[in-house]
């Protein structure tokens, strides 16, 4: 199972994904720049990703605490916190990019 991570230049990386892992953990463990300062507690907003519009319907709605963190991190309509997305087989092929805000945090 894979996650497709789209780079700033449009290139795609196919990351091995494991069921039950947070998408944040999958991205981080592949060595991509994502800080995830709070370690997945939905408390810092530094793991923000933009999920491809075609995949939005497959994701659960963000909870209130995720919305709060997105508010504080200049999110757009496609933004999610990758620490709040648990990978399941239904998400095989999930296409996303690390948000500009998160990339700036990691820079």
């Amino acid at each position: 199972m894979k996650i497709i991570l789209v780079g700033v230049d449009g290139t795609e990386q196919r990351l091995d994904a494991i069921e039950g892992w947070r998408v944040m953990e999958i991205i981080r463990d592949h060595g991509f720049p994502i800080i995830a300062e709070c370690g997945g507690a939905c408390a810092c907003g530094t793991c923000q990703v933009e999920v491809d519009p075609t995949w939005q319907a497959k994701l659960h709605e963000p909870r209130e605490d995720e919305l709060d963190m997105l508010d504080q991190n200049y999110a757009n309509e496609w933004s999610r916190l990758s620490c709040q997305l648990i990978f399941t087989p239904e998400l095989d092929g999930l296409r996303l990019r690390i948000s500009e805000v998160a990339l700036a945090d990691a820079a």
């Binding site: 300062e37 709070c38 810092c44 504080q72 200049y74 757009n76 805000v101």
Partner: protein, 352 residues
């Protein structure tokens, strides 16, 4: 337990102590305990207004499950218990202060200076600064740096500064809502912008904001600021992209973004320490940096196999204290003792 604030201590006075700990998070607090057992006095400096660091600032209510002996503890409870554990050693706290400079003295000790004008003289410095210092989040609007401090502000220090201004506040939390309501009466015009029609602020504040909007005393925009217009740091207007993808310009001379806090390494980068990807490399025997007498413990340090766990930090401070002792009490003999059996340690803890 002391709580010295800027202004209480005379600016010219130098505070002399054994150890300055930078950062009053869980690891900094436990450093007080380990250093205290070895007869070292500690002053702690933190940019926040209270102890606990990330535990208190980012996740006070969230449960932590991996603290040995505490199967479940919240960030705030852990902070409270570490404060209790440190209390016998009478640590002195200096909150709302950021360490700007450290300077080696001829006698081998260190001068530590804060942005609030405090000066410390210490034999040892322990950096327990976690992810760095908390700073307001800067929204990713091109060129915003040029306006900061002139017409873009991340805090309201004096309300009077905003009298007769055309103010736009950005954000959806308590700070954004409270300042919208409190500044509205004295401003020339007030507007709030937020990306959704939901707020994490007190419902009463949200209702008050909606009332002011209904009465046409202020404006509320759903969307985000995408461009700033002005010259020489003076804002003249902003471009807003609303949620229906319409772009329009609004005339404002002041922008107050309230997006919470983020962590940045900050002045530590200027202290001449070796750094590796914004972390401070240390050895794994003493957790000392490349500069003798300066230690780094907890999330801010790095070494082979490092895990960013609170419990790793606890281990690190115990070993750090052994080496710190040699700097603080160079002529004393260090004997290894257990708190369970040593009457001398128990006396220090006030339990015997």
């Amino acid at each position: 337990m002391g709580n010295c604030k800027t202004g209480v201590v005379m600016a010219e006075e130098t505070i002399t102590t054994d150890v300055v700990v930078i950062g009053a998070g869980p690891v900094g607090l436990f450093a007080v305990f380990e250093l205290g057992l070895l007869d070292m006095k500690v002053h702690l400096i933190d940019i926040l207004d209270r102890p606990g660091g990330q535990c208190a600032e980012l996740y006070p209510e969230k449960p932590i499950y991996d603290i040995p002996g505490l199967p479940l503890v919240t960030g705030q409870d852990l902070t409270d218990r570490l404060m209790e554990q440190a209390a016998p050693f009478n640590p002195q706290f200096h909150f709302n202060e950021q360490v700007e400079e450290v300077e080696k003295q001829a006698d081998g000790s260190w001068l530590v200076k804060t942005d609030g004008g405090l000066t410390f003289n210490a034999k040892v410095i322990v950096i327990a600064a976690g992810g760095g210092s908390f700073q307001p989040k800067r929204p990713p609007i091109p060129g915003i740096e040029d306006y900061e401090g002139k017409s873009v502000f991340y805090a309201v220090k004096k309300m009077e500064n905003f009298r007769d201004k055309k103010v736009l506040i950005s954000g959806g939390g308590d700070s954004a809502l409270d300042w919208t309501i409190n500044l509205q009466p004295i401003t020339k015009s007030m507007a709030l912008i937020h990306r959704r029609d939901g707020f994490r602020a007190a419902p009463a504040s949200v209702n008050e904001m909606k009332k002011l909007t209904a009465e046409d005393k202020m404006k509320f925009h759903l969307g985000q600021v995408t461009k700033l217009h002005g010259a020489n740091g003076q804002l003249e207007g902003v471009t807003i992209l609303d949620n229906d993808k319409n772009e329009f310009q609004v005339e404002v001379d002041t922008l107050l973004p309230f997006f919470g806090l983020t962590m940045k390494l900050g002045p530590i980068a200027n202290w001449g320490l070796n750094l590796h990807e914004n972390l401070v490399p240390v050895d794994v025997e003493k957790f000392e940096t490349s500069t003798p007498g300066i230690f780094a413990v907890g999330d801010i340090n790095t070494y082979p196999g490092k895990l960013k766990l609170i419990l790793s930090g606890f281990h690190e401070v115990a070993l750090m204290a052994q080496q710190a002792f040699r700097y603080v009490h160079p002529d004393a003999k260090l004997t290894f003792q257990y708190t369970t059996s040593s009457t001398s340690l128990q006396k220090k803890l006030g339990v015997n």
